[in-house]
Subunit: 303 residues, 2 copies
Amino acid sequence: MQKITLQEVVTRDGFQIEEQFVTTEKKIELINRLSEAAVDKIEVTSFVSPKAVPNLSDAKEVMNGINRTPGVTYSALVLNLRGTERAAECGVEEVNLVVSVSNTHNKKNVRRTTEQSFENFQEMMDYLSSTKMSVNGTLATSFGCPYEGDVSEDKVLRLVDQYLELGATGITLADTTGMATPKQVFELSEKVLKRWAYLPLALHFHNTRGMGLANVMEGIRAGVTRYDASLGGLGGCPFAPGATGNVCTEDLVHMLTFMGYEVGANLDQLIDSAKYLQDVLGHEVPGQVIKAGKITDLHPISE
Amino acid sequence: MQKITLQEVVTRDGFQIEEQFVTTEKKIELINRLSEAAVDKIEVTSFVSPKAVPNLSDAKEVMNGINRTPGVTYSALVLNLRGTERAAECGVEEVNLVVSVSNTHNKKNVRRTTEQSFENFQEMMDYLSSTKMSVNGTLATSFGCPYEGDVSEDKVLRLVDQYLELGATGITLADTTGMATPKQVFELSEKVLKRWAYLPLALHFHNTRGMGLANVMEGIRAGVTRYDASLGGLGGCPFAPGATGNVCTEDLVHMLTFMGYEVGANLDQLIDSAKYLQDVLGHEVPGQVIKAGKITDLHPISE
């Protein structure tokens, strides 16, 4: 069976909307646990304005405090040149750029049009070419916009092209507010991979309307092998009204493992880490396997 | 696109494990709403011992109190001859028999071996042949047993055969405690439909580990067009430790509708009914679309 690559986003996408600040120490502890559980990539934090995302204001301290495990890529989200420089100073290995396919969503999110975001990326790429950092380009609202509704597949393809021309070496199609249906995932993924067969393409789903794992299955069927997920299913976008959690890491790894896919990450360590996360947050997380147990956790007959 | 048939089980599978008794009047009101929403079949109640399932002790009053809508089939679960006779007296159109593929689960559930259940079914079928009621045979734990673990596909096929020999005209493979993976669903469904190409085969999933909708997608891919679902995602089996809800009706219809499948049931009426259900129960239900809204529920740009 295929190898599926797992990109953990809990400490970025998950924590950015938490009401309470998670201490730097606990963030570092959680990331170290995720490294030990052998996820393939960790989006550690964002280097953005502490005013915009107060929960990630300790980006530098977190990046400098974590243990680096060989085989794990440590990435961070950046929105401008200053953030990119700060990421470089902390030894970030990959930066993740984000623009929304929907103009309205992009304006709401970063107060720029899609085209203005790309002008801005050019400036960042000029700097990035002098560093060792690799660049991933994320297209938010690739499967629908909570303000505009349907987005055009042609626009998605055009923006993938723009990212690649800029020099991005990976692309993520993000379903920012959980609007993708399995059918749509299959069709759009197939189109992208038909045009760029060897593109490292990742899919980022939210389970907002329960379709998260079904969407992953259709992505796999279309040939996509890289998936973002968030421990405990934590997450959402503060600018996307009504959104609930991301696809849950341990639920995803549980499903894939028991279907025989090769997943580098260790399921038991992820489940333990999700329980630790729940303790850190002091509230329940949406993940289901930490509640129900694995399908191999049998019950004694005498029960 | 294909027509997908929807079989609603909330007032049976959902209510049987509710802590509080739902009044007969409210059960009738909910079933009438589901009929108006045009689901294809409603498993109204069970005619079982009121001691075993006190929440369904008003089976007769509920069956006699509901409005019958043409095009909707009204079924009930029965476990013995007495229950079957009671069902007939109330004008039940289809009885649903249940046996677990796993011997251990069957003993826990009905204090009989699998073979003893089938002996018992013979007696019920002798009576049923004198009535107009049709017979559906459900195989619980078709995808795994919480006590025994893996179940044999050969045993599932053998029990389908036994049901058909008895005279059942429909079969349901039930994932009683949410152990099925999408891969397993595809493979077992394909095997059953390969052997009995025209069999009215239904799948009954629980979302215990988040795989519910992914399992439906793989069932559809294998050619299965009938699905059980429970409004609000309510449900579980009192004899299956740790189980949470069934596949959620409105989440399922939401997904299928936006993929272009023909679903008789009306999504908006189902969402309204799920909200009514929540009011009746006085607690949240696991369904996600009632929280997040439909993917077409856009947000004003000025927000």
